[in-house]
């Protein structure tokens, strides 16, 4: 029953997010602040992880291709497919559930604990629109982060491939151009937009409706991370089934 209640309350929150909009002059400032916090602030960690994981994917693939009849350019091909289809959209989103999700839950949860949300409601402000909507809009720029992750993942793979001596630059470039299907990019960005919505709303829900004090803010952040990850993994499966099979 508790799960059903939470699911119902989550969808009511989504509806309320679009009701009674905050004055545009105020909302604009909030959106820019959230773009800075959630998107610009995540670029460093996403770039670092993408570059090195791209390298690791390449090394693992190269080390597992032991047969001399398998061409070396397949290293580039496998790296591109892994990064574009799964690593960039899905696993970066899981990492963002930890980074951005816990930031959203703890910042909104702290506002709940310190009565700042009550202060907004007393003033007659739709607190859900004021707090959640700018995060939702800011995270609509999330595909930009994922594009950078895809690019740096492939570059990281290239660096590992050449400096590790697994294949030549020409082989790697041939591999990443091999059998390229543009729909795979569309598929990756459809997933990214869906995950961006999840990243903005599930942590917000856990922060907004939390009860208790400072300890519960920490617990809410952990719960938000777990549920955001679970929903991302489930939706990843469903979207892959719907779009690729």
């Amino acid at each position: 029953m508790k799960y059903l209640h939470n699911i119902g309350a989550y969808f009511i929150m989504i509806k309320d997010m679009f009701r009674k909009p905050t004055k545009w002059s105020v909302m604009k400032t909030l959106i820019f602040k959230d773009i800075d916090d959630l998107i610009i602030g995540s670029l460093g960690i996403v770039a670092f992880i993408s570059f090195f994981v791209g390298g690791v994917v390449t090394i693992q693939t190269a080390l597992n291709i032991t047969s001399p009849i398998i061409p070396k350019y397949l290293v580039g091909f496998a790296t591109r497919q892994s990064i574009i289809l799964e690593f960039a959209p899905t696993f970066i989103s899981i990492i963002m559930a930890g980074k951005v999700g816990s930031f959203i839950t703890s910042s909104i949860g702290t506002m709940r604990v310190t009565e700042q949300i009550d202060a907004l409601e007393v003033m007659g402000i739709n607190a859900i629109n004021y707090l959640v909507f700018p995060k939702f809009i800011a995270l609509m720029l999330y595909p930009f982060v994922i594009s950078i992750a895809m690019f740096l993942g492939i570059i990281g793979g290239m660096a590992a491939c050449i400096y590790g001596g697994f294949s030549t630059l020409n082989d790697y470039i041939t591999g990443i151009q091999l059998d390229f299907i543009p729909f795979h990019i569309t598929y990756a960005f459809i997933k990214t937009i869906v995950f961006a919505f999840i990243l903005a709303t599930i942590p917000s829900y856990h922060g907004f409706f939390m009860k208790g004090g400072a300890l519960e803010v920490g617990k809410a952040s952990t719960t938000a991370f777990v549920w955001t990850s679970v929903v991302i993994i489930l939706l990843n499966y469903i979207l892959t089934q719907l779009l690729l099979s």
Binding site: K20, T114, E115, Q116, D118, V122, M123
Partner: protein
Amino acid sequence: MIEVNNVHKSFGDAHILKGISTTFEKGKTSLVIGQSGSGKTVFLKCLLGLFQPEEGSISYNGKIYSELDADEKRNLRSEMGMVFQGSALFDSMTILENVMFPLRMFTKQSKSEMQDRADFVLKRVNLADAHNKMPSEASGGMQKRVAIARAIVNKPKYLFCDEPNSGLDPKTAIVIDDLIHEITDEYNITTIINSHDMNSVMQIGEKIVFLKDGLKAWEGSKETIFKTDNEVVTDFVYSSELFKKVRQMYLEERQ
């Protein structure tokens, strides 16, 4: 004026407010007092419209809150100012931005007009030099004064304060009490303060409502509270040694 008529509020099986009726007059500082757990905060949140009573009604200048549509409720709330127990300042904004916030949300004033008004109220609460400080850099007393400035900046008709001097030293608490009382007089607003501080009662309590276990046990003024024979009230009022001695002196004087 706020009229409260037979208000009931429950959470699950817990019946918190059990039929409270009273009135709060314009231009007066009214205090709702009682022990912790007596229902003061729930009562205040009902007055603010944050909780909906299951039974009874609350009317503001004759308008019954539950009968208002969403826009009317929103307009009424914009006429309310609230000072929270923990100040509830927005910690991502400076003190000046906190005070300007209700003006940014509800008025079409230019930035300079908003800044002038915020300057004026910050001067009124003796915080003329604190504009660019963050709330975390301000002391407890300063935070309360900023909260009062934010509550009155949009010229509210109703001012609600939840234990405005809790956690403050006695001297600062008196400054805050006096400030709220002066503002109530100056702007002729309806002020309701939740408190369990007898010093506040003595200082500014023009009307006092005493709650006990979700019921109104007594109401009167600061002059009558010390003369009442109501045992529930005297137990609370004379719980401290200081007040016990004052009562003893009063009784001796009367004999």
